[in-house]
Amino acid sequence: MAYALCFLLFMIGLYCAVVKKNMVKIAIGLAIMEYAVNLFLIMLGYRAGGIAPIIDKSYLDSAAGQVTTNFINTSVDPLPQALVLTSIVIGLGSLALMISVCIRIYQKYGTFDITEIRRLRG
């Protein structure tokens, strides 16, 4: 269910980016797509009632020299969180660049409407 909603969010973003005529709305659509994918990544690592994946002494099985099975079965997967952090930073960079190009285009053309910004054809 949660995955389906996440996919719905992705499709809303795609619809917005493809159909809308306003440049800022297109940028917002792309941001929504980006967030839907980030949400999906986070949900992959989610575990209801899970613990933080930080090993303290109580989780260490000193006899076997490794973490206890209890830790493995209850901790959440930390990797998607690292991936999402990276992808948020990348998303920030691309959004900043996109908005700055929008501002420059507004200075040149005086409009955000892509149907009126059509010097390139063919």
């Binding site: 792309l30 797509m33 994918v37 991936l83 990348i90 996109m98 190009v101 390139l120 063919g122």
Partner: protein, 510 residues
């Protein structure tokens, strides 16, 4: 001497962040530093020919850590990237004088090179995405570097479609991670071989194909390319058309399809159809163009189609034969791969050269419209000669490089019993001939317009990279004709594709 693989990423990245410090006062120093960086990358890439190396970042062993893999395909692409970036960098020393913020231009240029080098070396699919984004973001900014009306518009269009492509790739990576629990390409491949392709992975594959095709501008995903490539400054057009669409699009597609997911008959057909569509529609659209650079951009779509066609054809032959493949079939598949990859490097060289000549013409005449030019042959003899050499190469006239790769592709198509494919290849070559005759006729021959009586050939520093690339166009045929060169440069790359899924076992053993 073993080459430290992270140097390919570290050198351009560190230089890119150093350059803006100098600002406009230290412009000549920044230029020298940037050129030094790309030339050192070229030397390193030449040292890497024929090597196989796996580097574990921070000594964390895979699958826990990140690895960089240098195999035949990577070293071929590294070599192409460094040759083209060196030529474009030398050209831009003089060409970029008319723009402000030269140091920032070099900084973005090197970021793009770092992204591409990282992408071809990465053995980890999420890092591949990160480097893909570094190269893409730098290229979005470079397309809009002039900050004029058309450039900003093209940059925005490119950015929207490029971002959609990147997000598709990221979504695909998330699905792959959810289904296999690993991000290392070798381990993903192993997991897929063990458990087969389920619905989630098939959807991920579809997302990868769409995302990378958007980056490679294959028809029907090509809408951004004819706007973006002509709007960029000429050396950047040379980089984008010459190598960026191939690294970000075609290389990534090859790596994911052949080495991670494994080729199947339907995927092979998909690549062949994408290739044919790009070839034919790119060529038809190019013939009607009157803007010099726009014509070249459409021709890039057509030529990228050749590479994808060759690779798809080889994959199709392998997939059709299945597990009990005979040596002759394998030989024909290798021939098709060889044609595709050889065409890829050839196209990188001559399309970069064509864009540099278009930049040289634009700088002298101040226009890109072919109707306003004419008779430049006398005034700009070097530009004319190099442009003719590149045109001859792209059309496929015998001693030049393009002839050999097209010959190999036609031969492979006939051997695979797809005579109609061979016929289309020859037909598209004829269309290419028409468009480049048009370039010669309207730009270099005919009457010199009155307002262009005073023009002169450009400075020496712009001509050096053009002449060097023209020599390469003439000599590249040796890469397949001399057995030693073929064995050390092209054959390892072909082997990566024919081995396919053996990629994973060769890395996991290490």
């Amino acid at each position: 001497m073993s080459v430290p693989l992270p140097a390919f990423i570290a050198i351009p990245l560190v230089t890119a962040f150093l350059l803006p410090i100098f600002g406009n006062k230290g412009k000549s120093f920044a230029t020298a530093l940037a050129n030094l960086a790309v030339i050192s990358l070229l030397v390193l890439a030449i040292c890497c020919i024929g090597r196989y190396d796996v580097y574990e970042v921070g000594k964390w062993s895979i699958p826990l850590g990140i690895n960089l893999v240098l195999d035949g395909l990577s070293s071929l692409l590294l070599l192409a990237i460094s040759v083209i970036s060196t030529a474009a960098m030398l050209f831009s020393i003089r060409y970029m004088e008319r723009y402000t913020a030269k140091a920032k231009f070099f900084s973005l240029f090197l970021l793009m090179v770092a992204g591409m080098n990282g992408l071809v070396l990465s053995g980890d699919i999420f890092n591949m995405f990160v480097f893909l984004e570094i190269a893409s973001l730098a290229s979005y900014a470079l397309v809009g570097f002039g900050c004029e009306h058309e450039e900003l518009e093209a940059s925005f269009k490119y950015m929207v479609l490029g971002s959609i492509g990147s997000i598709f790739v990221l979504f695909g990576i998330a699905l792959v991670y959810g289904n296999t629990g690993t991000l290392n390409m070798a381990y993903i491949s192993k997991a897929i071989q063990d458990s087969g392709l389920n619905a989630g992975l098939a959807f991920a594959l579809a997302l990868f194909v769409t995302g990378f095709s958007l980056k490679a501008a294959l028809v029907p995903f090509h809408a951004w390319l004819p706007d973006a490539h002509p709007s960029a400054p000429a050396p950047i057009s040379a980089m984008l058309s010459g190598i960026l669409i191939k690294t970000l699009g075609i290389y990534a597609l090859m790596r994911v399809i052949f080495n991670v997911f494994g080729i199947s008959i339907s995927l092979g057909w998909l690549l062949v159809v994408l290739g044919l569509l790009s070839m034919v529609s790119g060529a038809f659209l190019a013939i009607g163009q009157w803007d010099f650079k726009r014509l070249l951009a459409y021709s890039s779509i057509s030529q990228a189609g050749y590479c994808v066609l060759g690779i798809g054809l080889g994959g199709l032959i392998i997939a059709r034969a299945g597990s009990n493949i005979t040596t002759t079939e394998l030989a024909w598949a290798s021939l098709a791969f060889l044609g595709g990859l050889f065409h890829l490097v050839n196209h990188a060289v001559y399309k970069a050269l064509l864009f540099l000549t278009s930049g040289s013409v634009e700088m002298a005449t101040g226009t890109r419209q072919m109707k306003q030019m004419g008779g430049l042959a006398e005034r700009m003899p070097v530009t004319r000669t190099t442009c003719t050499v590149a045109s001859a190469a792209i059309v496929g006239i015998p001693p030049f490089s393009g002839f050999w790769s097209k010959l190999i592709l036609v031969w492979a198509a006939i051997q695979a019993h797809y005579i109609w494919v061979a016929a289309i290849i020859v037909f598209v070559s004829l269309c290419t001939l028409i468009m480049y005759l048009k370039v010669q006729r309207y730009v270099f021959l005919g009457e010199l317009p009155e307002n262009l009586q005073e023009i002169k050939e450009n400075r020496f520093s712009m001509l050096v990279p053009m002449v060097a690339l023209a020599c390469l166009c003439l000599l590249m045929g040796l890469l397949v004709l001399v057995p030693d060169l073929k064995q050390s440069i092209l054959d390892p790359a072909v082997k990566v594709l024919t081995d396919g899924l053996a990629y994973s076992s060769s890395i996991i053993q290490k």
